[in-house]
């Protein structure tokens, strides 16, 4: 063999290409084994939501949060999959952010409904969604509940969330495409992560939303448990004008549609009881607070866990009943 001439195994262009391809495949497999070993050592697979099957329970539901991105504003505002249908026949709508979605236990509400005949629907939205989005939903689908129950933390009286703004500004076909893309990406990721574990930024929460009652159905792998309660500020200064305006606008809009508004407050680090009382005093709306002596636990430091949400719902409903709202909303 002459100097500089390639050896026999590389003596054709096709052979060199085959060897290069083989090298790439072997590197891929080697890296794959390494990643699996690391994941096994770190015990990541057991925690991965993407590897679990059938995390949701109950009736028909849509995936609305995949650990990366929430899509329920898009689904609801554009009524994709006819999700708003049940909300149209509800007597009581819950409005607010993710805290009220986690706080109202659908099982407890259902038992109460069976006994009292009052139909509830949870129309809260994540990402600290505000009152503007809720009003737009009520108007767009001509929702006419007898009562709306508002989780009265500050975010509800502030601007719409980014997700809410995107849903309000977007077209139905774009929302449909977004949702389909979101669902496809979820299935693709679940498929890929059967063999390739996810090492970085593991999903801690995935959420399905029940079409029947609007409740969030969470699959949680979070270990930031903490006790939560109401926060009370010492000073009882007057409300800033932006909140007064927002509350006035909302109340007027509800009154025009013949809907009564009741306020409540879900315990969380954001739940300022002083602020809620100020809102109630300013607007003349009734406020249902659960006892401040009750202890509640969150799964992530902010949202109530299953046990606490059952307790909160029971306490809320008992006052709801006592104050005669269940009679009014029938």
């Amino acid at each position: 063999m002459h100097k500089g001439q390639p050896s026999f195994i590389f003596n054709s262009r096709r052979a060199r290409r085959a060897w290069t391809l083989l090298l790439g495949v072997l590197s891929f497999l080697f890296a794959l084994i390494l990643v699996n070993l690391i994941a096994g050592w770190m015990q990541l697979s057991e925690d991965s939501l993407l590897r679990q099957n059938g995390v949701r329970a109950g009736g028909e539901a849509s995936l609305v949060y995949d650990g990366k991105r929430a899509i329920d504003q898009q689904i609801y505002y554009h009524n994709l999959g006819n999700v708003v249908e049940e909300a149209k026949s509800a007597d009581v709508l819950f409005l607010g952010n993710s805290r009220i979605l986690c706080a109202m236990d659908p099982g407890v509400l259902e038992s109460f409904s069976t006994e009292s005949g009052v139909r509830f629907y949870n129309l809260g939205f994540g990402y600290d969604e505000g009152s503007v989005f809720a009003m737009r939903m009520i108007d767009k689908y001509r929702l006419r509940p007898k009562i709306v129950v508002v989780n009265c933390d500050k975010s509800f009286w502030e601007n719409s969330s980014t997700a809410g703004k995107a849903a309000l500004a977007g077209r139905a076909w774009k929302a449909w495409v977004d949702v389909k893309e979101f669902q496809l990406a979820w299935h693709l990721r679940r498929f890929v992560h059967r063999w390739i574990p996810k090492l970085v930024d593991p999903e801690k929460i995935a959420i399905w939303r029940e079409h029947e009652n609007g409740a969030w159905n969470l699959s949680v792998r979070d270990d930031r448990q903490a006790t939560v309660s109401y926060v009370a500020t010492e000073s009882d200064d007057s409300l800033p004008s932006k909140y007064v305006k927002a509350v006035g606008r909302f109340r007027k809009a509800m009154e025009l549609r013949g809907i009564q508004t009741v306020l409540t407050l879900v315990p969380s680090p954001m739940a300022n009881a002083t602020f809620a009382k100020q809102i109630a005093r300013t607007s003349g709306m009734d406020l249902i607070l659960v006892s401040s002596e009750e202890a509640f636990t969150s799964f992530d430091g902010d949202h109530l866990n299953d046990e606490s949400s059952r307790k909160f719902t029971q306490l809320f409903l008992s006052q709801f009943e006592v104050k005669g709202y269940s009679e009014e909303s029938r």
Binding site: R16, L23, V192
Partner: protein, 471 residues
């Protein structure tokens, strides 16, 4: 439409099928139509109405270029046509990019003077990639005006040049003469093209999804807790992490763009050439966002007089170009400050006569100046990342009076894992320049591609939009 989305994967797959069938040799009218339609769909995916803006800008510049090619070069009428194209294009850019900034600034002054409490501003979604396609359209008009380019007879061809989807939203800013010459050239989808294109794609996605997004999580968390950023080490760590993030993000995008274009039969210019090995600021700007640097040089610095009218005019031109380069990134004091800082740095280098790749004779001097240059570049990134000028004061106070800030080393240690591939890329480039190793060959690329593919699939972080989409 983001490159890292399922809808883009679907669109590209369709175009690739067209490339394998209708455009197997890259020529042919039907393949051209597929590329054009795909590019317009790609652009209108975000906000469909902005497609009319793209068509309007393209139409204006194409019309002006047509007028220029019909008449004699360089006369007063031609200059007026160019002025129309420049003012129309840059005016549109100003309206979308700077009107809100201007209104807010003016409004706050009026509010302070009058004691009113009015809300000023114009909140409008910025059309993605507007700065890029306006610069491309303008370069076409100016090249035709200068007689360096022949006006294309087909508007559709010009529209494809402006809207070609691999580079539409974040560059590289391609010159018409670098694009159109490729058009009639036959280019089959053969093995070297496929492997090189795929390698660029894998490397680009690796830098974006693993490195840039991984660093973004650290930087955002650290930045969100600015009160905790103390001392020289804290600021230094944050600047290193953000410097790594912005490089991986933008260079990653450029690699993806080049890979996509290569698979479709086109070559896009190199946009990054290991900028963090630059031994001077002048060299840094020859390696960082090369297509913008050269655009500013050819269409702004040279027409301003360049270095042809004495030292003080040169200095003025350099500073002005950098200032406008900063402003190009967006309306905001931080961007202007960032441009001004780089402008001042370049003036200092010119004053000392140390610009260029080898400004010093001795090795130790070169190393010393390199370290100084890179400290300057990384600290300037902090200004770029800021949301307001007030943050600069807070951060400087923290650097001066916040102690050493050794607590930041834990964040840097984690971020160091992400910075390693960036360091590796730069070290390899140094060895290439020094002639110690050659350009990577196919077997080496195959190994890296396999490893990076697994890294992408196992270690992609929380997805975020490309930083340069907002420019």
């Amino acid at each position: 439409m983001s490159f890292a989305s399922v809808s883009f994967a679907g669109l590209f797959l369709l175009v690739l099928v067209a490339r394998c069938t209708l455009g197997s040799e890259k020529l042919g009218r039907s393949y051209f139509v597929v590329l054009l339609v795909a590019s317009l769909v790609f652009y209108s995916w975000h906000i469909p109405q902005y497609l009319f803006l793209l068509l309007g800008i393209s139409g204006l510049n194409y019309f002006v270029a047509g007028q220029l090619s019909a008449g004699p070069h360089g006369n007063r009428l031609a200059r007026r046509w160019v002025a129309l194209a420049v003012s129309g294009s840059l005016g549109t850019l100003a309206v979308f990019k700077y009107a809100d900034f201007f209104l807010r600034g003016t409004g706050s002054v009026i509010n302070q003077v009058s004691g009113a409490d009015l809300v000023w501003g114009w909140e409008v979604a910025l059309p993605i990639g507007i700065s890029f396609y306006i610069f491309q359209s303008l370069s076409y008009v100016i090249d035709v005006y200068r007689g360096e380019l022949k006006h294309r007879s087909s508007f559709a061809e010009f529209l494809l040049y402006v809207s070609f989807f691999p580079q539409l939203v974040a560059g590289p800013i391609v010159r018409a003469k670098d694009f159109f010459y490729q058009w009639p050239r036959r280019r089959q989808l053969c093995w070297p093209v496929v492997t090189e294109g795929c390698f660029q794609l894998i490397a680009g996605f690796f830098f974006k999804l693993v490195i840039a997004d991984g660093l973004a999580a650290l930087v955002d968390a650290y930045w969100g807790d600015r009160g905790a950023v103390h001392g020289i080490v804290g600021i230094g760590s944050l600047s290193l992490l953000f410097g790594g993030q912005i490089f991986a993000d933008f260079a990653g995008y450029s690699m993806i763009a080049r890979g996509l274009a290569y698979l479709l039969g086109f070559r896009l210019p190199l946009n990054f050439d290991a900028p963090y090995i630059a031994g001077s600021l002048q060299e840094f700007w020859r390696r960082w966002h090369i297509s913008l640097s050269t655009w500013l040089r050819d269409y702004l610095y040279v027409p301003l007089g360049g270095n042809r009218h004495g030292r003080s005019r040169t200095m003025r031109n350099v500073f002005l170009v950098m200032l406008l380069g900063g402003l190009w990134h967006g309306a905001g004091v931080p961007f202007i400050l960032w441009g001004a800082i780089h402008g001042l740095g370049l003036l200092m280098e010119k004053g000392l006569g140390v610009g260029g790749a080898r400004p010093w004779k001795s090795f130790s001097q070169r190393i010393g100046w390199y370290v100084l240059t890179q400290c300057f570049v990384f600290l300037a990134w902090m200004v770029f990342r800021m949301e307001s000028a007030g943050e600069l004061v807070t951060m400087m106070g923290s650097a001066l009076y916040g102690g050493i800030g050794l607590g930041a080393l834990s964040v840097l240690a984690l971020g160091g894992l992400y910075l390693m591939p960036i360091c590796g890329l730069h070290v390899r480039r140094i060895l290439e320049i020094e002639g110690l190793i050659g350009a990577p060959r196919s077997p080496e690329k195959a190994v890296w591609a396999g490893v990076m593919l697994v890294a992408i699939l196992s270690s992609y972080a929380q997805g975020s939009a490309f930083i340069y989409f907002q420019f």
